[in-house]
């Protein structure tokens, strides 16, 4: 069967049109590269719109004591020191410039009295740090980047008479396979040669010849039943990278956001922004107790309040008071809620109470949290200015992803780059709220620049696609139609979600993970038999059948890594190994595909640079690092606090 394939040639193909993908495309295009953006949805609908709270960037507009060093420290603490420190460093240094740049694209953030960008408090951040627009910051980010792309296209129209001469968005298209050049060239390893996919509208096939591909496909949440993620989050980029020969790290670490809606059932998992707590909201159990005071772990004891009175004073005076424990990093709060519900102190629908109604005047709630008010009013008949919300943990974010070079975002495969949620390392074992949007901008830009530099270095020596590979990709894509009576992809998807939710969820045990792996193996066999009936024209059943393969591969990585790591850290909690282990901190678990099977290896982390170690007190480091690692710390007894913050001049600060 010959199928017509629509062919294109680009310098850079960006897979994904959320914050990271669009920022990468802007950078590549501005570097003079012909760039295509492939979007599973319509342009401007990416999951980034769901981000609510803000963009973390140490601009110091609200508290001038903030600096990139403080942001770096908070990020490492939040990730329980498993983070790739170089990524955390670049992220903290460059985030302010990336936010200011958005203003030149037309973004309109909320302002301080001085007219600068306002910044709000968030979990794990020492100072008010999140640039925001009410509670719809993600929408502002995506729209701003979308409009910047339109602006670049208008410039191209003026110069070439064609809006899409240099930068084109392929809306509602899905990439199913990356294509490699395996002919031994200058390097001995296979290099990226392009990508294969289909148009969702027509089902027609697309072939991109391109020496550089940037993955910006987001996360994997659709493998879980209760999730804040949209249908697009099927781990496409993670799976594409694996199949192309790249490696994934940290796949055991999944963030369960502490506050998702729990009722009504149809919206279970939909996100309730952390800003509710940042702006004063508190968590209570069915007995009316602010239970978070009972869940402050030893490593954070010094920074969090012991009494409600002190916690409440903190909102007005952050110098003399410690933070409310509701603002602990997300993994801590999610586990605490889980424990309260298990102990029988949950709310009627199996969550806990999140109350802002007794904490702020109604008008203030409407001003700061308009979309939360709207969401609860319309979907749950709850007026958050008058009554508490019911909330519980929801699968929100995967810390694990493609292993990349921090500076260029390139993976192990030459020509393959990754940025945003699909990349791993930046957030370690747990991501702080607000660090996602900044991550998208900082590493989106770096991936765009990295890809452009890679293409420049190639010169005219471009990799080529073989027809055989294109035909194979095309045959795999039409596979489900050859089984019109095959199993329903919807039913299989539900089973997968239930398996991951129940057995590899927020609290894990070896026997349950093993059970999950058995079920996944069975599901994988059945997935080869899923079918689709009818035409290829806008056929959601067929689309899901193709996405299932990615979800299954990625779920296997999550389960295998979760079984291997015999400690509890950040977004990985083992009931049978409850403690954090300094030995384990030195290792990352790396997934690759060998002959189509996921295999895991333990890989040593590079030691942190001494000047970065010096930013912490030695006593704090001792909670995370082994004794030999501590010898890198050059200032025994010193470091940390304001002295360290003043030690360097943050890039671009004024």
């Amino acid at each position: 069967m010959t199928t017509q394939i629509e062919r294109h040639e680009y310098d850079v193909v960006v897979v994904g049109a959320g914050g990271a993908g669009l920022r990468a495309a802007i950078e590549a295009a501005e570097a003079g590269k012909r760039t295509a953006v492939i979007s599973k949805s319509l342009f401007g609908k990416a999951h980034t719109v769901m981000a609510e709270g803000g963009i973390a960037a140490a601009m110091g507009n609200v508290n001038s004591a903030d600096s990139w060093q403080v942001h770096f420290r908070d990020t490492m603490r939040g990730g329980k020191f498993l983070n790739n420190w170089r990524m955390a460093e670049l992220h903290a240094q460059e985030a302010p410039q990336r936010v200011w740049e958005l203003e030149t694209y037309g973004a309109l953030f909320d302002r301080t009295k001085d007219g600068t960008i306002s910044q709000r408090n968030f979990g794990g951040h020492e100072y008010p740090r999140l640039a925001h627009v009410g509670d719809r910051t993600g929408l502002e980010l995506i729209r701003t980047l979308q409009q910047k792309i339109v602006s670049l296209q208008q410039e191209d129209f003026a110069a070439h008479g064609d809006h899409e001469a240099r930068l084109r968005v392929f809306a509602e298209c899905t990439i199913t396979e990356l294509l490699l050049d395996t002919s031994a060239g200058a390097t001995d390893v296979p290099t990226i040669a392009g990508a294969f996919g289909y148009r969702r509208e027509t089902g027609d096939f697309l072939l991109f010849a391109a020496p550089a591909v940037i993955l910006a496909t987001g996360g994997i949440g659709k493998s879980f039943t209760v999730t804040s993620n949209s249908w697009e989050y099927t781990g496409d980029g993670h799976a594409l990278a694996l199949r192309a020969g790249a490696s994934l790290i940290n796949m055991e670490f999944i963030q369960f956001h502490p506050t998702g809606m729990v009722w009504p059932p149809s919206v279970k998992g939909v996100l309730v922004t952390e800003s509710v707590r940042g702006d004063g909201g508190v968590l209570r159990n069915s007995e009316g107790t602010r239970f978070m005071f009972d869940y402050v772990p030893e490593v954070f004891r010094a920074q969090y309040a012991d009494t409600e009175a002190e916690a409440d004073r903190w909102y007005a005076d952050q110098v003399d008071n410690k933070r409310p424990p509701e603002l602990l990093p997300r993994d801590e709060v999610a586990r605490a809620i889980n424990a309260e519900v298990k102990a029988g102190r949950g709310s009627p629908h199996g969550g806990v109470f999140l109350d802002v109604s007794t904490r702020l005047p109604a008008a203030e709630i409407m001003r700061r949290l308009p979309s939360m008010h709207h969401q609860f009013k319309e979907l749950a008949d709850v007026d958050i200015t008058a009554e508490p919300m019911e909330v519980g943990p929801t699968c929100h974010y995967v810390m694990g992803g493609v292993e990349v070079d921090p500076d260029t975002a390139q993976s192990r495969v030459p020509g393959l780059f990754a940025a945003g949620e699909v990349a791993g390392g930046m957030h370690g074992s747990n991501r702080l709220g607000g660090n996602s949007l900044s991550d998208l901008l900082v590493f989106g830009r770096r991936a765009g620049a990295g890809a452009a530099a890679y293409v420049d270095a190639l010169g005219d020596d471009r990799p080529t696609i073989t027809e055989a590979d294109a035909e194979q990709a095309s045959a795999a894509a039409v596979g489900p139609f050859e089984r019109p009576d095959g199993e329903s992809p919807y039913a299989l998807h539900q089973e997968l979600q239930q398996t991951m939710n129940d057995l590899v969820g927020i609290i894990r045990r070896a026997d349950e993970i093993e059970q999950a792996l058995h079920r996944l193996a069975d599901l994988r066999k059945r997935a080869e038999r899923v079918g689709a009936r009818g035409g290829r024209h806008y056929h959601p059943g067929w689309h899901l059948a193709l996405d299932l393969r990615n979800m299954l591969t990625v779920s296997e990585c999550v389960a295998m890594a979760a079984l291997e790591r015999t400690e509890s850290r950040g977004g990985h909690t083992r009931d049978d190994h409850p403690g954090m282990d300094t030995e384990w901190r030195q290792y990352l678990l790396t997934c690759v595909l060998r002959d189509g099977e996921v295999t895991i290896t333990k890989q040593q982390q590079p030691p942190m640079r001494p000047d970065l170690l010096d930013l912490f007190e030695k006593a704090e480091l001792a909670k995370y690092l082994t004794e030999p690692e501590l010898t890198g710390h050059r200032k025994p007894g010193a470091g940390g606090g304001g002295t360290a913050a003043a030690a360097g001049t943050p890039e671009g600060h004024n």
Binding site: S41, M50, L108, S230, S266, H374, Y490, R533, Y538
Partner: protein, 248 residues
């Protein structure tokens, strides 16, 4: 709690189609989009529908429910009588692709025709200073989730296909207003609003405002003020009449 609902869903493509009857279970707290998904999973695996966030934030699942332009994810089943037959059809103003999915490329074409933000040449990134009270007006318009329900509803194009060339529609006239009210935008936009983007075709019936799921006051806060700014340069009979009536 649960009951069997009667649904009529338009199915077809560019060559034509018709309403199909379904009987489908409904549970407590569900929205129309849940029911469409249940149809997909149990009765019509190839039923085409757009959706993403399922929380009213992305503006993908626009359709007409019993003839009213709505986001399916924000239309609760409890707002209907259990005996009522619920009819779901695609947005009428845009060409059908398949079932409930329409070709909304008109909107992306219009977006490209609006001149982008023109930043001040003398300010570096990080030097922008604006007062909250000054950014709030444009911020209201930036709440837009681009569901295109206003574009679908506006009779200037819904009932007059030939106006599509010359009329940007409420969403993009509002975009011009947003930029015009941006404290630091340096472009002059008022002439183009009238002469290139068809502001004069809007006769302020407020249909767009009524269907906006974000409750943006498109007509009162964006289109009428924009018309008033334009009227300094060009005579607009509607604004003239409006002013006459309001000043009485």
């Amino acid at each position: 709690m649960g009951y069997q609902a009667s649904f009529r869903v338009w199915r077809g493509d560019v060559t034509g189609g018709q309403l199909h009857d379904f009987t489908v279970p409904v549970n407590e707290g569900e929205v129309v989009l849940d029911i469409i998904h249940r149809l997909q999973a149990t009765q019509a695996p190839d039923l085409a529908v757009r959706w993403n966030c399922k929380a009213g934030k992305c503006g993908s699942c626009s359709a007409e429910v019993n003839g009213m332009p709505r986001l399916m994810c924000m239309t609760r089943m409890s707002t209907f009588d259990q005996a009522e037959t619920i009819t779901v059809t695609p947005m009428r103003t845009f060409p059908v692709m398949r079932d409930l999915v329409t070709d909304v490329s008109f909107n992306y074409t219009k977006a490209r025709e609006i001149q982008s933000f023109a930043p001040p040449a003398d300010l570096a990134p990080g030097e922008y200073r604006m007062r909250q009270v000054d950014v709030e007006r444009s911020q209201e318009f930036r709440k837009c989730i681009e569901c295109f329900l206003c574009q679908n509803t506006c009779h200037a194009i819904r009932d007059h296909e030939d106006n599509k060339q010359s009329f940007a529609g409420p969403r993009f006239l509002m975009r011009i207003a947003e930029l015009d009210m941006h404290p630091l935008d340096t472009a002059d936009r008022q002439r183009a609003a009238q002469e290139e983007h068809g502001l004069g075709l809007c006769n302020i019936t407020k249909c767009c405002t009524e269907v906006c799921p974000e409750h943006i006051k498109i007509t009162d806060n964006a289109l009428i003020p924009l018309k008033e700014r334009v009227v300094d340069r060009k005579y607009d009979p509607l604004v003239w009449l409006g002013n006459k009536i309001l000043r009485r």
